[in-house]
């Protein structure tokens, strides 16, 4: 009975944090870290509580993205692209129906695949070395073209800016880069402050400017009819839903990739799959297919992120690092064969995650009016609260004035981007992959003969290029590079590409 009670508490808490814009799973887990002592007597109980939080928060993050246009967390930023325009058109219930079905479908399916087959997944991740990670990141970067705007010039600005922001910090040899002498920037620009600045604050200020009465747009028609329409969309387009989940699942397996990459890859893939087909609504303007193509990726990614963490002790995403840290706090030896053979461990993970996924879906269906009540609070109260949460979240980094200064700078940039229709999703994707590409690029070169102490051409001439690009040695790397080049050329050449969600 304790397990059910704590799974329920975890589900409700995760849902609450998930609904708060910007606060995601990592924030939720950090806030319960201090509860670790309670679970020392029965760590499996703590595991159920944690995974229920992860599952419910992952779903609730999407609801916020759809209803308010402010990403519930970075991993659901792609849901904003079509979800929020749907809500603005009065189709919030339909969008919620899609989100609930997609999250539940992908959450449950991939949780079962993950936890019950956990011991078998080790072989996939071991295939990835530096070159393979580099290839995958190049593929992710190429997908930026799918979320850039139609204006090529503005798209290039967005991509270059995103890459530059991602490169801020230190080089792989610990030399300051793009810090402009500001020591604070040497640790890079964090995801939370970037999202707050690019999406959160500009939307709030825009709301003030337009004197919004409510953060959630009004809904047309009966709520349950809208939900049913959303369920129908999912049934009709189940392939897009499954594809999104699968992409999220694979992305979550790769250490450090996680985050927004899976969602945007899924979104890009959905758009590519419907190329040339007549759409009810264009992508980026409230297309239900666009929403269901990426919505479930987040849930699948969350669950698959647990695989490298459980198998190798390698966190695939920040929240997975928190789960690992809490598990280690519980005294569980994450990454050991003994733990994988512990049925209580895998069963606790599976129970918590599936309970959280289904629980939050039911809560969302039957408590939707309460969610809306929260969102119907006059905008300035809601926005003041959100602003406080955003500032508080960003102040958690160092607690110093620099946190506020960076938030202010990025918010100003976010407002400029919004005003001039510079694609903020493109900035986000470029930012996510920039540092990783740099890191894997140099790592790959070093492995294949680049000697950093040699200057000039000699260092490059030493690289064993033929070994590196040999398809028999590195099939994953070569295939990823070919796909990346193809995607990039396609996205640049075709003029009808691009999403006008900017």
């Amino acid at each position: 009975m304790d397990y059910v009670i704590w799974a329920l508490i975890g589900t409700m808490y995760g849902m609450l944090v998930g609904i708060i814009p910007i606060a995601g799973v990592t924030t939720a887990l950090i806030t319960v870290f201090s509860m670790g002592t309670y679970f020392m007597a029965d760590p499996y109980l703590g595991l159920v509580f944690l995974t229920a939080i992860v599952a419910s928060c992952a779903s609730a993050d999407s609801y916020t993205s759809i209803l308010t246009g402010i990403p519930g967390a970075s991993t659901t930023a792609a849901c904003v692209i079509d979800g929020y325009p749907m809500a603005k058109k009065g189709q919030a219930a339909r969008a919620m129906g899609i989100a609930i079905t997609d999250s539940t479908f992908n959450g449950v399916i991939f949780a079962a695949l993950t936890f019950f087959l956990l011991p078998y997944y080790g072989k996939i991740i071991v295939l990835f070395g530096r070159p393979e990670f580099l290839g995958f990141m190049m593929m992710a970067l190429a997908c930026v073209g799918f979320v850039a705007s139609k204006n090529v010039f503005l798209s290039i600005i967005a991509i270059i800016f995103g890459l530059a922001v991602g490169m801020v910090g230190e080089t792989v040899t610990s030399k300051p880069r793009l810090t402009f002498g500001w020591e604070y920037l040497q640790n890079g620009i964090g995801m939370v402050v970037l999202l707050s600045g690019l999406f959160g604050v500009p939307e709030l200020l825009d709301g003030f400017r337009r004197k919004l009465k409510s953060a959630a747009p009004p809904m047309d028609g009966n709520y349950f009819d809208g939900l049913r329409e959303g369920f129908g969309d999912c049934k009709k387009n189940w392939r897009d839903m499954a594809r999104g989940g699968l992409i999220g699942f694979v992305t979550g397996l790769l250490p450090g990739v996680g985050g927004a990459v899976g969602d945007f890859l899924a979104y890009g893939a959905t758009k590519a799959a419907h190329k040339g087909k007549n759409q009810e609504v264009p992508f980026g303007e409230g297309n239900p297919v666009g929403l269901l193509g990426c919505e479930g990726a987040n849930n699948a990614q969350k669950v698959s992120s647990m695989i490298p963490a459980c198998l190798f002790g390698i966190p695939a995403a920040p929240f997975a690092a928190m789960v690992m840290a809490i598990c280690m706090y519980f005294g569980m030896e994450i990454g050991t064969p003994d733990l994988l053979q512990d049925l209580n461990f895998t069963n606790s993970l599976a129970f918590g995650y599936i309970f959280g996924t289904i629980g939050v879906a039911l809560l969302s269906i039957f408590c939707y009016k309460y969610i809306l009540k929260v969102l119907e609070v006059p905008f300035w109260i809601y926005a003041a609260f959100i602003l406080a949460v955003i500032v508080y979240a960003n102040m958690q980094y160092t607690g110093g004035w620099e946190d506020l200064a960076l938030l202010t700078i990025l918010s100003a940039i976010g407002c400029v981007c919004k005003y001039f229709n510079i694609s903020r999703p493109a900035i986000l994707v470029a930012y996510v992959v920039a540092f990783k590409i740099d890191q894997y690029f140099w790592g790959t070169l070093q492995l294949y003969g680049y000697k950093q102490w040699k200057a000039g051409y000699a260092a490059w001439a030493d690289i064993r290029w033929l070994d590196l690009f040999n398809i028999y040695n590195h099939p994953i790397f070569v295939i990823c590079i070919v796909i990346a080049v193809g995607i990039f050329i396609n996205s640049v050449i075709r003029k009808d590409k691009g999403i006008d969600y900017t």
Binding site: G36, T37, Q186, Y329, G335, A384, Y397, T398, Q439, L447
Partner: protein, 351 residues
């Protein structure tokens, strides 16, 4: 609109200020990282013995330096602020441009820790190329690996070891701990590096790897490095002598000893400002925490069972004795030329 924005700002200030509590542990890392987790465990347990709330404040930054700098410049003057430092801070003290200075603080307690190195099973030191991954700062372990693979050189100068390093090693820097672990498991890297607790957690009983060597731990009473009781017969000096028939010596060895002890002996440590009126109270609480079986069990679950050092002056004296002009300059040269990291020679450390 301005009034509404002001309301938001006031709410923000309230939320931030409400997070402030009595004793604060300053951790120079983001939540979830190794020292952060250790800091959380310490905060929770210390609270019981200090009798007042203890909270953790994270001040992350490049190579975990900005948090410690901030402690030095301003936070240390708060009588209820305690700095949580780790081994990387010790190495940065020797090689990086930093503001903090251990000699301005009082040691409340330091875990005298060790590092474990593994290698691919059967890999022969005397032949072939070795691929080794590093993070973002000086790694004494890689220097030790270089000595084991290269063996005695003509005059054992740093230049001779650098020449051997360039010939026998492939160095990949900027690799995180988790990626190193994966790279070792898929054979991309030949060497694994872990804390003792992580080694037991991730590598014990897994085929394909073998424990190569450990640094050992500092015997403060006699000021010598001794074998780690958790990993007997694995200390670097012993492994080297067994392999090459003589004890390690020379420039790189001295640079290794310097950086090894400045990192491992203060691997996880707690400091307050010199003259802090609460120092005795905090130190007594730390002592009580160390002696408490429940608290120590939780701490050792994270770090492995290692002795604490609370005699700050003796520890700093022992560490200071390792600083010589030659060792310092050689450590700087090795860091720059073998690893490619920026570092500076600081003559003021010799004073």
């Amino acid at each position: 609109m301005i009034k509404k924005l002001l309301l938001g700002a006031v709410a923000s200030i309230f939320m931030v200020s409400s997070a402030l509590a009595d004793y604060t542990l300053i951790v120079p890392q983001a939540p979830g990282k190794g020292t952060s987790v250790w800091g959380e465990i310490i905060a929770k347990n210390l609270e019981k013995f200090i009798g007042e709330p203890v909270v953790v404040r994270h001040i992350p930054g490049a190579r975990d330096i900005p948090g410690f700098n901030k402690f030095h410049k301003s936070l240390r003057f708060d009588d209820k602020t305690i700095m949580v430092a780790h081994g990387g801070n010790g190495v940065s003290y020797l090689l990086d441009k930093i503001d903090y200075n251990y000699f301005d603080y009082e040691l409340m307690g330091s875990m005298n820790n060790d590092i474990v190195l593994g290698k691919q099973a059967g890999k022969d030191e005397k032949s072939g190329t070795w691929t080794i991954a590093g993070g973002s700062g000086f790694e004494p372990d890689a220097a030790a690996a270089a000595m084991l693979v290269c063996g005695p050189q003509g005059n054992n100068t740093i230049d001779e070891y650098l020449a051997c390093w360039r010939e026998r090693f492939v160095w990949v820097n900027g690799v995180s701990g988790g990626e190193k672990r994966l790279g070792f498991k898929n054979g991309e890297f030949d060497v694994a590096r872990e804390s003792p607790a992580a080694w037991k957690r991730f590598y014990t009983g897994i085929p394909g790897n073998e424990l190569w060597f450990t640094h050992g731990i500092l015997d403060l009473e006699n000021n010598v490095q001794i074998a780690d009781p958790n990993f007997p017969n694995t200390q670097f000096e012993d492994v080297y002598e067994k392999l090459w028939g003589e004890a390690p010596k020379g420039d790189l060895y001295n640079a290794y000893k310097l950086t090894r002890n400045w990192r491992d002996a203060i691997q996880k440590s707690l400091w307050v400002n010199k003259g802090n009126p609460n120092a005795a109270k905090v130190k007594a609480a730390v002592t009580a925490m160390i002696n408490d079986p429940v608290a120590s069990k939780e701490i050792y679950a994270k770090t492995g069972v290692y002795p604490w050092i609370q005699d700050g002056p003796a520890l700093l004296k022992a560490l200071k004795s390792l600083i010589t002009e030659k060792a310092l300059k050689d450590a700087v040269k090795w860091n720059q030329e073998a690893y490619g990291f920026p570092s500076i020679y600081k003559p003021e450390l010799l004073k």
